[in-house]
Symmetry: C2
Subunit: 383 residues, 2 copies
């Protein structure tokens, strides 16, 4: 069997124990046994979300959670703020338009993110803004948004703060309650190390009061139905049973390692990868101030086509990394550090990245990248 | 480990080879390898759907497919026909209301279904009806609708015929093209023997022309996005990778056994179960004319509480059957015949059903039900 190493920022590598959980015989969802799974999942998610808010489970991928956030808090004609700093920020804008709301779009340079002051300026001027939609970690660029600072701005207004934490949650810090985030949208296939198909939405009391009055058409994603089912330790429609059962085991891993331990692991791999990039003479796409540890976006040498790098790594060496999206197509590669990825996975990825770059004509001291990463890992051992 | 025999009409028993497929390391979805999976899945689904229409894959459970059908073909204010013959027919009505359409509801007695003539009468009188929403197999009652006859009525009008085939598809006949069904909604966790979380929607050309013009708010379930992605052998949002990979193996089982073989298996188990019920002096809830082979709904003796039967079977004997829903709560039990269920599974279920009924005070000749089923199975061997 060919190697299948996923260094992509979603889906991510699934550890063996979670593969085993996914392959177990299915159980029925209207049983005390599955209710125990729901309870365990919610409690574990509240730990990772750092919240006491209710968290609803939706059968769907990450965009399902985003749609649930939009169609439940915005009514047709409502004003909102969206931030476009990459492909996933643009999705908030698209969703607002799809549900007939009026987004005021803050466009920022890709590789950076919005400043709280920019959001404050709009909220100060326009008291009719109903919600602010931001992205914790913009997967297309690797940039992280300062949610804490934005939370300080939004909390004293009538607007809701809605955060797409799909790729960031469980990998970098997102303090839902301390940072006053009203809705956090996330999914199973990034930091949680599971297949796509299960979405999560946490909802604050402030948000729920809005949800009750929203007039946008909704049914499958109607969070009023979710809240009602939540009380009965149930879901309004057939849940993604298989993934929820495996999620309980994923969340046990989070508790064992601790959230800080998970963050530290991603940070460790990110630092090693960045040391390697530097040694190879390659720069990081994401501006330093906004750089997170979910992934490293590396600028490729000008004469090297990114699509080729991704294709050869995948088809010849069985290693999946992500290329650039949109205007970054062909220009960068993105290497993930999330979930259960290890030093070994990272070194393997870097080894073959070096090989492919060399084959494509890029020159550098042999082994420079791998050596730099290994040096970093030796000098900064994880506890 | 305690027995976990699912005789419920969804989720259904997952055969070992599909459990193995679900537990495999995940692959990335934007790869030629996964595109092969998509191609194989679509082609196999077209065989089971009996259609040449495009079939779209949505990450979501069965209701997701139903919502996609409603929000893509009805605009606010549009008129439609829905048929309420059980809990899932009612869901069509609820969805129409949620998307601000005006359903004309045909209420029929539970345990029966609508006649094509009733639909024709409305379509003849009201040329503004945009769509007719029916249920192939009403899981709450076991009744089957004559889709063929309804197709003959609807095909010559401007209305679309939309069928919820979630629990029926692959278990009983549903000839999408021959019967002129414009949209068939289904899901992974019934006849396809997989976990919930993957929904399917087949769309005719006639339906797609409507979809293009529909004004209802939609994004995640926007089938225009699905059609665009379909051309590129892709999905608009992250797909339910794990279930799609396993679906390819499920569909191989369909091809090996043949659709007729799958139908024959369900029919065989249904007849055996009904012979058992008769021998136990229990009647079938579903009226004979409308009886399908997806499940058998058995009327329980008046002095026996259905909830107890379900609970004891599950908690003591590790066998899941379904109780009654809505007004049937406590009055019936439903035993499924779909997917990979076998004579042995059925006999096991009946054996413990007998035991529980006896414990609860119901009197009958010992072993009568099991013997009758075994006799049926001996006399009607499956090829």
């Amino acid at each position: 069997m060919k190697r299948n190493l996923l260094l992509t920022p979603g889906p991510t590598k699934i550890p063996d124990n979670l593969c085993e959980a996914l392959g177990r015989p299915i159980i029925h969802h209207r049983t005390p046994q599955f209710q125990e799974n729901i309870k365990e999942a919610i409690e574990g998610l509240q730990y990772v979300f750092q919240t006491k808010n209710e968290i609803y489970l939706l059968a769907g991928s990450g965009t399902a959670a985003m749609e649930a956030a939009v169609c439940n808090v915005l009514s047709p004609g409502d004003k909102a703020i969206t931030v476009e700093a990459g492909k996933f920020g643009e999705r908030w804008t698209e969703l607002c338009h799809a549900f007939n709301a009026k987004p005021e779009v803050i466009e920022v340079k890709w590789g950076t993110s919005v400043e709280a002051e920019q959001i404050k300026a709009i909220l100060d001027r326009d008291k009719d803004i109903k919600a602010v939609f931001v992205t914790l970690h913009e997967t297309s660029t690797g940039a992280v948004t300062d949610i804490k600072a934005i939370g300080e701005v939004v909390k004293n207004t009538n607007a809701l703060l809605v955060v797409d934490a799909i790729s960031g949650l469980g990998v970098i810090d997102c303090q839902t309650d301390n940072w006053h985030v009203d809705i956090v949208a996330s999914g199973s296939h990034k930091g949680f190390m599971l297949p796509p198909g299960l979405a999560f939405v946490s909802v604050s009391d402030k948000a729920y009061k809005v949800i009750e009055k929203t007039t946008n058409a909704r049914y499958y994603f109607d969070l009023r139905k979710s809240k009602k089912a939540f009380k009965e330790i149930d879901t309004p429609f057939t849940p993604a049973i298989g993934i929820i059962v495996a999620l309980c085991d994923s969340l046990k891993m989070f508790k064992e390692k601790g959230l800080d331990g998970m963050f530290a692991n991603a940070d460790h791999l990110a630092q090693g990868t960045r040391a390697a990039a530097k040694a190879l003479g390659l720069s990081i796409y994401t501006e330093e101030k906004y750089r997170g540890n979910v992934l490293t976006a590396i600028n490729l040498p000008e004469n090297i086509e990114g699509g080729k790098v991704v294709k050869i790594l995948r088809d010849v060496h069985g290693i999946s990394v992500a290329g650039g999206q949109g205007s970054l197509k062909g220009k960068i590669i993105r290497i993930a550090h999330m979930g259960c990825l290890t030093e070994e996975d990272t070194i393997t990825g870097l080894t073959y990245l070096e090989q492919v770059l060399r084959e494509l004509g890029y020159q550098f001291p042999e082994g420079a990248g791998v050596n730099a990463a290994q040096d970093y890992f030796k000098q900064h051992q994880l506890v």
